[in-house]
């Protein structure tokens, strides 16, 4: 008969325990989980990248809803257990659900420590614990106001970096003289403080918070020395304590945490505790590796293996802030019986310190250059006698035995039992073994089978190197499809790093992101050029040599090497003078074909390249500017005649189309953007298969997007209904800017929308007024540099070399 297993809490430890249990004893238990948070199980370690905007919540989910269904697990979301009845063997939730158990696992985690200063309960004081905290911080960050983070430890610094990248003015208050003093010695703490300050985050050490004050909400933080710091957001990140209240009320033995034996069992033999709420051998833990070890032990116990036991482990600490490399392990206090080896490279910002006792490593601090962390960890764990290599030890593994300084060789030299993934305790042999035995070829496969690099991700590089070593070329790093063969990075990663590292030229991107070719290729260069134009509109100098020929000469190349030219006709409206000018140009330059396009424009085909500037000069005389029919940018806004003429028209669709086009012309986008405005739901402008479309109705303007009528056919999605033309314009512009900032080069809006999710786009554009305004403002700013008519520039002589041969030779000889 199946036993009933009830789990209180749905964090990372119980999630992992269930995975083990399903493997070891499938079908033995009927499992019910109560999660006080209203969601599934996600990777809490990755909250910092969510806060900084580098990852989305969806990317950090460990078990989606489908997982629970597949394994027949009942998950109560948003149910907090309020009582355990050990006599009746039941638990009861705050929503009144009572569930019997045969075995109970308590995994209530920890609660953030709140310093009980006056004002700690004011609105605007947050902790940093779960997704709700992160969402609250992101919301607060939109005001672009001042934030104070109390606590200069791991969590506090990650929160500060995240808020900083969200645009807030951040001050970190730390009560000790140096940052992260529990993991770093003062020298590394100093380097860290400098790096943090270089990002524009203020750091005040020896700061003793006395009060948080304000009128009904946070307005300032006051220190004991009289300093007053204005702030609208205060994040307390001073530490955590085990959440053992429930267990205590049920009469289970509790000290700092719930007291359990090495088998994770409490003093009630049917009740286990794992995770941050558990205390084993007098220790409580907060890093994920020992918590996962608890999960493994508890699963083995529940599966009937009573010998499974938890053994204390030291876990390296790493800071997850892009651009700061930091590694700390073990004990690094000075002492009579200890020696230390220190390497400093001030120019490179590198500091390394090894603490030795009896010729064995007992502690390591690495700052700036951390690749040898795994090796030092291995030496420490195995208590290796290092006296033989003492002189060169600090230079790292690749320096030993005269081996070349090649990161690949360093990984190859690691022994099979060297730990690669600290979070999940996965060693090299397990990874290479799984790759060979299961024929794994992608990083995702390896994550799925071994868990290596599946939590904080900082060992991803090592795992990738192991894959290359094990299967060579068969390794397919394209779980993320690389941009092209010049790099192993995908578009999103490149876009993120351009922003994070402040890269502002193509050579800088290639240098910093370690491009494999000297100057890229025809795939990556136009993409990088676009990303840089989009991200740094005022600073980046457009690289024409990295643009496809059409965008370089502002016309469309045809199969015979001639070009076609499409002047802009705003909203598809023209007049006699314009048509006459076009007719004259066609006659003068003997243009072989004139055609009306699908976007309500006139296309002149078969123009010789040499004639282009003269053609543009004549068209310019008549008032025409470039129609950008060649651009990855705004092409056309197609309109119907709307309320001006049509007996069904509800709004001035022609006017709105012209207004949108005049506002948005010249902007570059990841792929072409075609729009349309229809004056009534009869939709004569065919707005419902466009990248962005508007259907006018009596009550306003229905905005559509993500349609397609090319390689794919797809009707649009409705973004929402707005009342006025001004609002319609603001929403469309904001949507386009969001796409500009997130789209991958050559990815049309409908593909981008599918990737990001329609709901998320609606949330940001329709529901979040501040975000919409910010997108709108960034678009307007970038237009200042984009709205220059390229035709008139070239008609007046710009880029002359593009349109003329550099020489004519051999004609005399040929005539002879």
């Amino acid at each position: 008969m199946t036993e009933k297993l009830v789990i209180i809490g749905n964090g990372m430890a119980p999630g992992r325990m269930l995975e083990h249990l399903l493997e070891k004893a499938p079908g033995r238990y009927q499992v019910t989980i109560f999660n006080a948070e209203p969601r599934v199980n996600y990777d809490r370690i990755m909250l910092s990248p969510v806060l900084s905007g580098e990852k989305a919540y969806e990317e950090i989910i460990i078990h989606g809803d489908g997982w629970y269904i597949k394994h027949g697990i009942t998950l109560y979301k948003g149910h907090k257990i309020v009582a355990i009845d050990r006599q009746a063997k039941t638990v009861t939730s705050d929503h009144g659900v009572t569930e019997p158990y045969d075995k109970l696992v308590i995994a209530t985690g920890s609660v953030p420590f709140i310093i009980p200063v006056p004002g700690h309960d004011l609105p605007g004081v947050l902790t940093y614990r779960d997704l709700d905290d992160v969402r609250a911080m992101m919301l607060a960050a939109q005001s672009r106001a001042k934030a104070v983070v109390i606590g200069g430890g791991l969590l506090g610094l990650e929160a500060a970096a995240g808020l900083n990248s969200q645009g807030m003015d951040v001050t970190v208050l730390h009560v000790m003289p140096t940052l992260m003093e529990r993991q770093l010695d003062p020298a590394a703490g100093y380097l860290l403080q400098r790096a943090v300050e270089q990002r524009g985050i203020k750091v005040i050490t020896k700061a003793n918070t006395q009060a948080i004050t304000g009128n009904g909400k946070v307005e300032r933080v006051e220190l004991a020395d009289g300093t007053v710091i204005p702030a609208t957001l205060v994040v307390m990140a001073v530490g955590i304590r085990p959440n053992a209240v429930l267990a205590k009320e049920a009469g289970i033995a509790v000290n700092r945490g719930i007291v359990v034996d090495a088998g994770m069992r409490s003093n009630d033999p049917d009740i286990y505790a794992i995770g941050e709420c558990a205390e084993v051998n007098g220790q409580v833990y907060g890093l994920v590796a020992p918590l996962y070890e608890m999960a493994r032990v508890a699963a083995s116990q529940l599966a009937g293996n009573e010998a499974a036991a938890f053994v204390h482990m030291d876990t390296p600490t790493k800071l997850k802030v892009t651009g700061i490399d930091l590694f700390s392990l073990g004990d690094f206090a000075e002492g009579e019986d200890r020696q230390e080896i220190v390497l400093r490279d001030a120019a490179a910002g590198v500091y390394k310190r090894l603490v030795l006792k009896d010729d064995r490593i007992i502690g390591t601090v690495l700052y700036g250059e951390t690749t040898d962390g795994a090796w030092f960890n291995d030496l420490k764990k195995k208590q290796t006698d290092i006296s033989e290599m003492r002189d060169t030890l600090i230079f790292g593994q690749s320096y030993q035995g005269g081996a070349p300084l090649d990161p690949m060789a360093a990984v190859a030299a690691l022994p099979d039992d060297a730990e690669i993934c600290g979070c999940n305790g996965v060693c090299k042999g397990k990874i290479t073994g799984a790759i060979t035995a299961k024929g794994l070829t992608s990083l995702d496969d390896v994550r799925a089978h071994t868990k290596a690099s599946a939590s904080c991700g900082s060992c991803t590089g090592l795992v990738e190197k192991l894959m290359v070593l094990t299967i060579g070329d068969k390794y397919n790093p394209a779980a993320v499809q690389p941009m092209c063969s010049c790099t192993s990075l995908g578009h999103d990663e490149v876009r993120r790093l351009i922003k994070a590292k402040g890269l502002k030229t193509i050579p800088a991107v290639m240098q910093e992101l370690e491009w494999k070719t000297s100057c890229g290729c025809a795939k990556c260069r136009p993409a990088l050029n676009y990303y840089l134009v989009c991200d740094w509109p005022d600073e980046y100098a457009d690289d024409y040599q990295s643009r496809f020929i059409n965008e370089r000469v502002h016309a469309n190349i045809q199969k015979d090497g001639t070009y076609s030219v499409v002047p802009r006709m705003w909203g598809g409206v023209t007049n006699a003078a314009e048509l006459r000018a076009i007719a004259d140009v066609v006659d003068k330059f003997d243009i072989p074909m004139v055609k009306v396009t699908g976007g309500q424009r006139i296309d002149m085909l078969g123009i010789r390249k040499e004639d282009l500037p003269a053609v543009w000069a004549d068209l310019g005389q008549a008032g025409f500017v470039s129609g950008h029919a060649y651009a990855k940018g705004l092409r056309t806004v197609k309109t119907c005649v709307g309320s001006d003429w049509c007996r069904f028209g509800t709004q001035d669709s022609t006017g709105l189309g012209i207004r949108i086009e005049k506002f948005m012309w010249g902007s570059w986008t990841p792929a072409k953007v075609k729009m349309a405005v229809s004056g009534c739901p009869r939709n004569c402008a065919e707005a419902t298969c466009k990248d962005v479309g508007v259907i006018c109705v009596d009550s306003g303007y229905e905005i559509h997007f993500a349609g397609a009528a090319g390689l794919d056919i797809k009707g649009t999605e409705v973004l929402g209904l707005v009342k006025t033309e001004d609002e319609a314009l603001e929403h469309i512009v904001a949507l386009t800017q969001m796409y500009r900032e997130q789209g991958r080069y050559l990815e049309r809006i409908y593909k981008w929308a599918k990737r990001i999710g329609i709901a998320e786009i609606k949330r940001q554009i329709m529901d979040d007024g501040e975000k919409r305004k910010a997108y709108f403002d960034r678009f307007v700013f970038s237009q200042k540099f984009a709205q220059v008519d390229p035709w008139s520039e070239r008609a007046s002589g710009k880029d002359k070399h593009e349109f003329r041969p550099m020489a004519s030779v051999g004609f005399a000889q040929a005539a002879e």
């Binding site: 025809a522 040599q545 496809f548 190349i557 041969p805 051999g810």
Partner: protein, 109 residues
């Protein structure tokens, strides 16, 4: 060898190309990022695309019509594609550029 002057290095943008008109058609003269200069027929072996209009990367150019990648050094298509275009000798004398005209005559003959 009959070297004919076609202009100077600075006439061509880095990672770019210019054309030289001849009675037998255009010659594309390329300048790489590191100032090497190459000349090949401006006529992709695939469908005759104007190679001078392509994106120049390393010592190769990608044809603007269908993305064939042609080596500027050998004139041969790189990757899976097969085909070649004629290369023409280039001499750089200080800033001045010359191409070998006999090669042109031999083609005309």
């Amino acid at each position: 060898m009959n070297w004919v002057s076609i202009g100077s290095l600075s006439d061509i943008p880095r990672r770019g190309a210019r054309c030289v008109a001849t009675p037998e058609g255009k010659i594309a003269v390329f300048r790489t990022a590191d100032d090497q200069v190459f000349a090949i027929d401006d006529h992709c072996p695939h469908k005759g695309g104007p190679l001078s209009q392509g994106i120049v990367h390393g010592t190769a150019v990608t044809c603007p019509l269908h993305n064939w990648v042609i080596s500027l050094e050998t004139g041969k298509a790189l990757g899976a594609d097969e085909g070649a275009v004629r290369t023409i000798a280039v001499r750089i004398d200080g800033e001045r550029l010359f191409i070998a005209l006999e090669a042109l005559a031999s083609r005309a003959a």
